[in-house]
Amino acid sequence: MVEALTTNGTREVNTICGFCGVGCGLTVRVEDGVIQKVTGQKDNPSSKGEACIKGREGWRHLYSKKRLTQPLIRKEGELVPASWDEALDLVAGRFSEIKEEYGPDAFGMFSSSRSTNELNYLAGKFARTVFGNSNIDSCNRA
């Protein structure tokens, strides 16, 4: 759905900070596919070029060794790596079984105040149309 980005050369891309709700515009300098520096986006109408320490320095979490890089499935009590196909089949299969056995009200969903509007919209649609209930909320603090 989204192709891999070109990884050569230097680029500057504008995006929005991922921390608090101020929503500061950030300009990200990328060299050979790796972030080098983040600054406030000068012409952002909300933040006008400003950004705090979280916005300017917090990007290093993207490169943390602790990032999840593959699906994990619990087998014999342990979370072990799995393929996307195996993980997605398991999720869809178990959700469907539980819906079948206990009805739609057996499902609950927490959507993310950190993710995009598009994700949050689809999460609401998922709960209401795929599972068939409205047990969905966004965390207020996580």
């Binding site: 929503g23 990200v28 598009e118």
Partner: protein, 575 residues
Amino acid sequence: MATFGAGGATTSYEELENTDLIICWGSNTMECHPIIYNHMRRGIKNGAKMVVVDPRKIDQVKKAYKWLPVNVGTDIALANALANVIISEDLHNKEFIERATENFEAYKEKVAGYTPELAEKITGVPAEDIREVARMYATAEKAILNWTLGVTEHHNGADAVFALINLGLLTGHVGKYGSGLNPLRGQNNVQGGGDMGALPNRMVGGWQWDDPEARELFEEVWGVPLPEKVGKNQAEMMEAVEAGEIRCMYVIGENPAQSDADENKHERLFRSLDFLVVQDIFLTKTGRLADVVLPAAASWAETEGTVINSERRVQRVRRVVDPPGEARPDEWILQDIANRMGANWNYETAEDVWNEVRRLAPNFSGITYERLERYGGIQWPCLDGSFEEISDNTPKEQLAAGTKGAETGKGTTLTTDVVEKRDLGTKFLHVELWAEEVKKRAPFHPVDHAGPVEMPDDEYPFQLTTGRRLAFHNTGTMTQDYKKVKDPEELIEISPEDAEALGIENGDFVRVSSRRGTVPRVRARVTDRVRPGLVFMGYSFPDEVPTNVLTINAVDPQSGTAELKACAVRVEPAA
């Protein structure tokens, strides 16, 4: 905010620079929303006065004209006392109340009981200071009232928000440039989460779940019937887990086992599920309890899409870099699961999803990706994206605009001749309240004070309140990788008097316990930011210092939020 029918800050940030009075209520704006605070700082430079309402002597108190050191969880009593003074001194905006509000008589009766002297006993704020701030707010030409979780993270947080909104209605400080009521959002997309209908009772665009018009529209666009009943909020879902009614959960980008009150209990509940799926960028504590963990892309730099900030501005996030390994954007994972469960979703881009949002939500219908590209962010509501929808103009023009806007019914967007091509959308909300004929009045919601559920006693003699510090964020998953930063660990703030009585010096380790759990070691910061009897902790280093094992899961039935801001604890030197 049920008062107005749409939840969101009513002003733009820039209005903080063009106002006369800025009230920060339960908001450590300088540390928690630093760039909004910069707007406030410029406002002060331009002549505005700032009033800080906070139990702690936070740094921005230095810049404040007045600090009201309110006792934790007594905000309603203080707000009602401000109203008491405003009404008894005949400073309320009678014309506005008459024309644009309803239920004033009941409110007046309610606040009559909250004299400044009574409120002083409850809130700890001197009666004279209450009088002074009441007069300042009522007589200011323009005033903006801002609040955050210090107001809402209580067992009656929704009532406290009503108490603040009532003040705006009482004085007419809403719906005009430079005056307003602003909940400042804690996460990059709290605003969007609500606006997009990730809520049990509202759907995208603010539609009530049982609005017949909405149901018809949604069933047409989605092609399936909607659920027949309202859903459960977060706290109600956890109760349903405990009751064995909810058997499986899907948690995206949240860490509720660690961020919610009474952590030990939440862990037990998540463990009890038949099936738990967690999707995140890190393996959080909640993830470690899951049956399946799905690796997500970081929304702000590894995915395409939009988010909404605390001034209702829709802005584009972009895939700046690729996510690591096999991690994928949240919405594509969700689409794959939906389709494997029999749905037929065919979104190819984030823009496809957004365009469906635009069909369902009038507030966003005029905001296209193309326009976001061209103009930068756009503030909702934006009905058709025409330049006629701007409210950045004189009060007289606003009035005219409000009249016309009110005629359009649903959207409340304003219509007037324009001004500046860069700003599509709506700079501030509720101008229609100033129209000659107000179609939908804003009701007062009279509310009563009820203090924190758990107060200090002999066994647990301190009151613990919690919050965020400048460089750190929430459960810390995103802020533990700084190269160098000041105080990269959790601290407990304790007053010099209490520290001396306990034989604790600055930098010593202490043990903190409540009826629910114990934090065996946390470093003490001895400071007069907190008064005797009050201690403060953050919650951004939960693996080392699990602050939320202490907090109490006393939930507000209206908002689903727990009383994270107040519980009773014992503090002693660590072994």
